[in-house]
Amino acid sequence: MEIVDQIKQTFIDETEDLLSELEGMLLDLESNPENKSHLDAVFRLMHTIKGSSGMVGEDKIYKFAHKVEDVFDSVRKGEIPFNSELANIALEARDIILSILNNSDPDVDNRIKIVEEKISMPSQPAEKKKEEVSVKKSNYEKTYNIKFYPDQDIFKRGSNPLLIIQELEGFGTLTVDVDDAMLPALEEIKNDKCYLGWNIFLTTTKEYNEIKDVFLFVETDCEVSIEEVSHGKYSDDDEIAKIGEILIDRGVVTPDAVNKVLEGKKKIGEELVEKHIVSQDDVESALLEQEHLKKVHSKQSATQNIKISTEKLDDFVNLVGELVTLQAQLNQHTLNTNNYELTNIAESLQRLTEELRDSVLGIRMIPVGQTFGVFRRLVRDLSAELGKRINLVTYGEETELDKTVLDKIKEPLVHIIRNSIDHGIESPETRKKAGKNEAGTIKLSAQHSGGHVIITVEDDGKGINREKVREKAIASGQISADEVLTDQTLYNLVFQSGFSTAESVSKVSGRGVGMDVVKKEIDNLQGSVVLSSEQGKHTKVIISLPLTLAIIDGLLVKVDKDHYILPLSSVEACIDRNDAEEKKEGNKNIIHYRDLFLPYLSVRELLSYKSEQPLREQIVVVHTENTKYGLIVDEVIGDYQTVIKNLGKVFNNAKTFSGATILGDGTIALILNINNLTRVL
């Protein structure tokens, strides 16, 4: 790539990020027009886009962004108000810049003209504000010194000081120093007594009261002091406070005394102790604070981001995948030799490989909030188009998911949300008549569950009409008129191709194309989707997705001479078949497992192995989003780092397997598709 092309590509990547941020900011500003920090951010973003486009010679963007920036400058000065009309114009301006960047709209000049005409029209001057109403919540970091000395009987009351410290850990950067001065000799220690105390430094954006709340249940019995030790001075990343400065700040020494001592050559702490100006404990505590501040400082310096193309990252992941496979081969080889030195090296290498694997997979993890942000615009625009009032509420935006999975789930989520807006949420009049709030709500949430991420889309609309689904399914011949179906089976029909209960086809949805595509996409991602609904109240779509598609922890099993992999996150237990109680119900095989009767299937029978069944077999109990079942295999070998390889287009229809992996001895093990195997239960 030529250097000029590289600069241009960097500009495009960065501007796309800025535009995405701008969209979110504009939506925030629309819902809270008085928030000055949002307004400043919008102005700043537009200013940056203008500046960088000018630098790379993108004149069209430069001139257009300049005009939009001027409008926001006037809003900042209070000359014109920010209202929904201006929000619409600004969002359209943002879309236009994106179109110019991607060269995706031949009519873009016309769109620019329309927006420029709108912004050149004199707007109503804003009313002078009597006072600033927005309160800027501080995201400014402060450092606190927390002294936590639990009383000796804290264990007896069932409290665990460690959990309290771990809660603080979630607030920011923590430096913990244990004080074991009260700890008696070994023979005098009482099991149930706590003799420890902690001196903690915490740098966080949280406020004093939020920190105090952590100690809510122990503060009456323990000694807890929380003191803010630094303001902007230390959290600005310019300079770390020196010991003398900290001691002066704490009021234990005067600046004069420090200056006098500084004339000597010794370390200030040593000198102050020698001269009996401060105690050794004071210096050690100050040193701890200094260490903590250094840690915060280096963390701030280190968290600068660099951009890497996804291709490069994918290559990196593939290479690490190859390394993991090679590692497995080395392990296999060392097992067959009795070379102690080689075993040592292989074990060390394995540890490093595992760390490298976790790190590289961590790099690919992206918070789902980035994708959720896109849906805010979708809900805003579509609800306005359909004359509905809808609030989008999101939870768990910080939940991370592999970039590939996240990219692929975006379209299915768009389908589901469009359906919720069009078919789910009723018009304000209908909702009012039904005694509901005129504004509907769509809840979008993400959370971790084992090795999966669960994404839920729930609306408080009219729900799915069970009878209508049934009638439609009978009419299309998918079920017979006398067939009795559970709610779950009935709702699953919604995912069939061409199935729609909508009476009319709208621009948005109703053709029955979409939900089948949603299911197919999610199946392709080795995920699952479940629908639940209550007529008149709500509809909920629960999607379960694997955290990553690159490398997983697997359970290696054997049938005949072949190896298979089961995703470890889906495995619940392994039991000896001889110890299991089995029975037959109709044509289903059932085992008794922990008070549950579970269906099972034999991999040997499923894959038509002709060899003789071994005397002892193992049952692996696995679970999917909505069911649990047993899989009978000849032997369970153990956990295995599985680098997933695609089976290729020829095996697109092989629903029993989701991929393959290469084992240490170079042979191939197929990965069983736990979700799809339920169809043969």
Partner: protein, 117 residues
């Protein structure tokens, strides 16, 4: 105990996967025995341990202090499992200095380095 009186041999102690308040009495007994037996070197294998509560950490802490006072050489054998590493880091009992993991970093400004094997 005087260094010269010590038996010139070592003892090794394997810690279980879970060390909890309920098995602390046994732990104290074991630790006291190895100190009283006058070994010059004690290897404490902590590599299998996945969980340790604060009560047990206090005991290990006191044991290590006593060994230091008695000039007994204590080696903590690792590597540490991730779960216990997190617990020890959170509670201030472990510090990572570059490539080294230091247990009880507050003791004598030195602490005990966890050996990888």
């Amino acid at each position: 105990m005087n260094q010269t009186m010590k038996k010139n041999k070592g003892a090794s102690l394997n810690l279980p996967s879970e060390i909890r308040i309920s098995n602390n009495t046994i732990l104290i007994k074991k630790l006291k025995t190895v100190i009283e037996n006058g070994y010059s070197k004690i290897v404490v294998d902590i590599s299998k341990t996945e969980e340790i509560d604060l009560s047990s950490l206090q005991i290990l802490n006191s044991f290590y202090k006593e060994c230091l006072a008695e000039n007994i050489d204590v080696d903590f054998k690792g590597p540490l499992k991730d779960k216990i590493k997190k617990q020890l880091l959170s509670s201030g009992f472990l510090e990572i200095r570059g490539q080294h993991e230091i247990l009880f970093p507050f003791l004598g400004n030195k602490g005990a380095e966890i050996g990888n094997r």
